[in-house]
Symmetry: C2
Subunit: 146 residues, 2 copies
């Protein structure tokens, strides 16, 4: 399971992408409201994302968050990596420090399959692919349908 901050991050980025496609640059207040996340905490998360250059921002009047030309196709993996590290893709499901193919815990083989397929998903899916689905009406970003 992903950390809450990572979930917020992904939802925030999807919202930014959707707005960018409309030619807009949303700010913290708007983003937090739309993804149903606490405002100050969202600000912190967006800060982290821009510091790591997954996202761009403009200060001052008319500012806000947006993806620049080098920031297309942002995989969920990159976001997870920045927000909480990639431990969840390596760690043993059984909690053993050294568990691997040669020295497996009794869950190793089966757990690996699950972990790897999750890894495949987050490598393949991007903020853009998720946003596409929402734009097409195939999926939703929040509970209440506005």
């Amino acid at each position: 399971m992903l950390a809450k901050s990572t979930e917020y991050a992904i939802r925030a980025l999807v919202y930014v992408q959707l707005k960018n496609w409309e030619g807009k640059r949303p700010g913290v207040v708007e983003i937090a409201r739309e993804i149903e996340a606490p405002e100050a905490f969202s600000a912190k998360i967006l800060q982290t994302l821009t510091r790591h250059q997954l996202l761009d921002s403009a200060k001052g009047r008319g500012g806000g968050f947006f993806f620049n030309d080098e920031q297309t196709e942002l995989s969920l993996y990159k976001i997870i990596h920045v927000m909480e590290g990639d431990g969840c893709f390596h760690r043993c499901g059984f909690g053993l420090k050294s568990c691997n193919n040669e020295n497996p815990c009794p869950l190793h083989e089966q757990y690996k399959v699950v972990r790897d397929s999750f890894y495949d998903i987050v490598r393949k899916e991007t903020i853009q692919s998720l946003s596409e689905k929402i734009k097409k009406g195939e999926a939703v970003l929040k509970r209440s349908i506005t």
Copy 2:
């Protein structure tokens, strides 16, 4: 990912099962040492497990932990359920409160597959099946091979 306490719980129960098969009833100190977990914390966890009747215990001299006649085939699911609830099998990977087949988040379909296959594993695998593997030498319980 499972909580640390759940991991300790599973490892502890496997150790108890292995010892029970040898006709022994290990105590907290021994269990904690063998599964490489903090002693006092292990005691708390074992207490929880016996309180929920997943495990039996005997106080006083010659006491220790063991499985009684009604406690065979303990699935990992039951342990997870007792230790941390089963939220991880229901929650949306995207963090949405109401995400379901009718109102899916953009990760819903793919995440469901992963989550469900993890669920299948923990329903199928038991303390006994894991212990079997260790007994047969197909898997290990701890880092250092004693």
